[in-house]
């Protein structure tokens, strides 16, 4: 996969740039420092991997400093930062890949990728997500792994050898494990909290104290601990065998007995169903009004009919009189024997007798309602008794006083709450009992004119009395429950301090809290296993390193030796240690530490060698290498070696090389040496707010001038001049094709192969074709190797250049 062209948009130093053509086997870009060369290198790196090594290194020091640094500072709001490139696969197929910067919440920088216009991972065109094959040799990373801690150096060189995923895997597992240890999940925190008191209890139980001590250090052995605990419990219970359920049940029973021997708290325990019982009481309170209203209505009805009727004695008298009168004269009264028992009187008497029947029924109804109200009040009494304890008797109080002697404040506060609750209960209970008895005989009070007023007063105040009593009972019960909740842990502690109870707790608590033992045991195992995995990764890396140093280590030496042929002071080999890596060199046969003793130039060569083997890792999908200022510390000889040896070797391997440099001499050297390969020469002409202005450094006019200048020089210059003449012919053909809209020849075409494209350009004449053919033949390198060929003199070169210039002018391309 080669780079054909690239278009950075508001990335690093670039603004809204045009496409940058890179379609040649050798591309050299010259530009001053600080004018965008590194931005171009980083653009390729970010496009491929969503990150750059420079940014990654920087973020390890300070994320804040580097946040947002991918986006150009002049980028307008709403415009996406992106890199787009056309890549050419080995089979000639071209793909447009694009990465767009996505800035999310809290300025988090991610990206999305597109392949041929569709959202897709770059894996779709064979680019893996990890940068094992990173083809970009960045200037700032050239020596960073040399001048670093031995461990970091080992990791970085391992990464360069192709072990980066493993090295990162080890680093990330290491950090994740550290986090897992320092910030355990909530389930572990909970288990630790719960198991703390268990461990304390176990240390008081001789049979399991040793296990408790181990658990205190979070050293668990589930199988062995379980067996030991089982045996200890059986021994305590003097049982030969038993299931866990039986053992737990028996221990619980014995604990209850032992605790009761110390103090039986059953009588003072707050109701375990307090909430439900209080709800019941509250519901009954809601029925008070209904019950009391029914009673009041019956009383009112009764008093209404009582005033209009005879007493029972009068009723009997008149009924008897009416029966006796039947035998005498019509209007004669049987009692006084006077004619007073007229028809009208008879009717009145009969009416009053009838009304007396209503009285009887009303009295019965009042009696019934009185009984119903009494039952209702008894229900309140029953509910109230459920929300209160039995209360302490004198003996129990006498036991508690010394038992809680160490906490007199807690004890006395409880006694106070206890006594207040008891008073509330007894007072309310007394009131309810009184009211119950009164309503039970309310009909008797109402039937007696001397006590009917008492009955009326009782009914009027009954609802308020009952409501107040229920409220007092509920509040008292709640207060007591709160006081008992505060008090009971202290009491339980005191009870548990009893030797027997303590021993039972030491056996019982680890059994009933076994689930927490399991959690912490598994947590410990996982910590150990993850540590083992770390060691395994480390061992695997070392094994891979050893193998790679045998093979790829030799490749490093080969590249290094290309740059330092025959040097008596040189790098020789790498020696991996457990957690380090030593770089060895030699000086006239004596071994030295390369990092400490080699020059910056030699270390520059070593860094370049290591990065080269990384870029050439077997299996790489890339057929290009991009070098950003690779000769920072190199002198002229080493630069020359880079040009003559290293670049030659890369080109011979069929790789595309894109080299960015501020060194004019280096660029010229590469240009002259590899001119025959039709290199592409670019230059940064200026740097403006919109970024670097990158243009083709080789125009037809410049090439003609250069060839003319060289033609006036010595033999070597004239030999090179002939090459430039051929290049002029190629540039003329390309310019003509472009100007006339004709098909351009492929970039790899030779001058002879390009001629038919020129001939098909509209406006070209046969004499143009013929002249250009002669020039191409003159400058054909195949001719130059023939016996008898002599380097042309200026007079032989100049006519070709004149003809090219004249043709170019006629075609308006100069």
């Amino acid at each position: 996969m080669r780079l054909v062209k690239i278009k950075p948009t508001y990335f690093r130093g670039f603004g809204d740039a045009d496409w940058i053509n890179l379609d040649a086997s050798l591309v050299v870009l010259h530009g001053p420092n600080g004018q965008g060369k590194t931005s171009l290198a980083e653009a390729v790196e970010w496009l491929l991997y969503e990150k750059t090594r420079r940014r990654e290194r920087g973020e390890n020091l300070s994320q804040r400093d580097y946040q947002g640094s991918y986006r150009n500072a002049h980028a307008p709001a709403g415009v996406t930062t992106s890199i787009e490139a056309v890549l050419r696969a080995s089979n000639g197929a071209e793909h447009t890949v694009r990465r767009e910067l996505v800035v999310g919440a809290r300025n988090a920088e991610t990206s999305r990728t597109l392949v041929d216009g569709n959202p897709a991972d770059l894996a779709a065109v064979g680019i893996p997500p990890d940068d094992v094959f990173n083809p970009v040799i960045s200037q700032d990373g050239l020596q960073d792994f040399i001048h670093s801690k031995p461990k970091d150096r080992r990791d970085k060189i391992s990464a360069a050898l192709g072990l980066e995923p493993l090295v990162r895997f080890k680093t990330v597992v290491d950090r994740a494990r550290t986090r897992f240890q320092s910030s355990p999940p909530p389930v572990v925190v909970e288990a630790r909290t719960q198991l703390g008191p268990v461990v304390t209890a176990m240390t008081h139980s001789p049979r399991v104290a040793a296990i408790g001590q181990r658990w205190g250090s979070e050293r668990f052995d589930e199988g062995a601990d379980c067996g030991e605990l089982h045996r200890a419990a059986l021994a305590f219970l003097q049982m030969q065998s038993g299931e866990w359920g039986t053992i737990t049940e028996e221990l619980n029973r014995r604990r209850r007995e032992a605790a009761q021997r110390v103090f039986d708290d059953a009588p003072i325990q707050a109701s375990p169903h307090l909430r439900a019982d209080l709800q019941t009481l509250e519901l009954q309170r809601g029925d008070i009004t209904i019950t009391v209203n029914a009673l009041g209505q019956a009383l009112t009805q009764f008093t209404g009919v009582a005033a209009a009727v005879y007493t029972q004695a009068q009723l009997q008298f008149w009924q008897t009189g009416l029966r006796m009168q039947v035998a005498g004269p019509p209007d004669t009264c049987p009692m006084c024997e006077a004619p007073t028992l007229t028809q009208a009187k008879r009717t009145e008497i009969q009416q009053r007798i009838n009304q007396s029947g209503d009285y009887t029924r009303a009295l019965q109804a009042l009696q019934d309602q009185g009984r119903a109200a009494a039952r209702f009040i008894q229900g309140l009494v029953n509910s109230a008794s459920r929300v209160y304890p039995q209360f302490l008797d004198v003996d129990q109080r006498r036991v508690l006083v010394p038992l809680l002697a160490e906490n007199p404040g807690i004890r006395d506060a409880f006694f106070h709450a206890h006594d207040a609750a008891q008073t509330t209960y007894q007072d309310s209970r007394r009131l309810l009992d009184e009211r119950r008895q009164q309503v039970e005989r309310i009909h008797m009070l109402a039937a007696d004119p001397g006590t009917v007023h008492t009955a009326t007063q009782l009914a009027a105040a009954l609802a308020a009395d009952l409501d107040q009593a229920v409220q007092n009972l509920a509040r008292g019960a709640r207060d007591y429950a709160a006081a008992y909740a505060t008090f009971s842990p202290h009491l339980a502690r005191q009870v548990a301090s009893d030797v027997t109870v303590r021993e039972i707790d030491g056996l019982l608590l680890p059994i009933t809290n076994w689930q927490y033992v399991r959690v912490l045991s598994q947590y410990g195992c996982l910590l150990q296993e993850s540590l083992d995995v770390q060691h395994q990764i480390e061992a695997h890396i070392q094994a891979k390193q050893a193998a790679l140093f045998q093979t790829r280590g030799q490749e490093i030496n080969d590249w290094y030796d290309m740059l330092n042929p025959g040097a008596p002071v040189r790098y020789t080999r790498m020696e991996p240690g457990t957690d380090s890596l030593t770089l060895w060199g030699e000086t006239f046969g004596v071994q030295i530490n390369a990092v400490a003793c080699l020059s910056q130039c030699q270390l520059n060569c070593l860094g370049l060698s290591i990065h080269l083997i990384r870029a050439l890792t077997p299996g790489t999908p890339f057929r290009f290498v991009l070098m950003d200022d690779p000769v920072q510390s190199m002198d002229d000889d080493h630069c020359q070696a880079l040009v003559v040896q290293v670049i030659k070797s890369l080109l011979e391997r069929g790789l595309q090389l894109v080299l960015l440099s501020h060194e004019q001499g280096l660029v010229d050297g590469i240009w002259d040496t590899y001119y025959h390969t039709q290199p592409l020469r670019l230059r940064i002409s200026e740097f403006v707010q919109n970024g670097p202005v990158i243009e083709d450094a080789e125009t037809l006019e410049r090439a003609i001038e250069r060839a003319q200048g060289l033609a006036m020089g010595n033999e070597d210059n004239r030999r090179l001049s002939v090459k430039v003449v051929r290049r002029c012919a190629e540039l003329l053909i390309r310019a003509a094709c472009k100007a006339t809209g004709s098909t351009s020849p492929p970039c790899s075409a030779t001058a002879a192969q390009m001629l038919p494209f020129f001939q098909s350009c509209p406006g070209t004449e046969p004499e143009h074709h013929q002249g250009l053919r002669a020039t191409i033949s003159f400058s054909d390198p195949a001719v130059h190797t023939q016996p008898g060929w002599a380097v042309p003199v200026p007079q032989q070169i100049r006519p070709h250049l004149d003809r090219i210039r004249q043709t170019a002018r006629q075609l308006n391309v100069l």
Partner: protein, 59 residues
């Protein structure tokens, strides 16, 4: 299943459930920075622990 051949080779040479789980999880975290990936992998360790607890809780 880890797609990365280097991780796959490691898991093949050191087989085990934890090795496999960590490698698979890490494989999906390659684009992240180390610290972020470590935070995610810690969550994987939390999950593995919880699964173990749940499994033994059913015993």
């Amino acid at each position: 299943m880890a797609n990365n051949p280097f991780l796959e080779e490691f898991v093949a040479s050191c087989p085990g459930n934890l090795q496999r789980r960590l490698a698979d999880a890490f494989d999906g975290l390659l684009p992240l920075a180390d610290d972020e990936a470590a935070a995610q992998l810690k969550v994987t360790l939390d999950t593995i622990l919880q699964e173990g607890i749940d499994a033994t809780g059913q015993d």
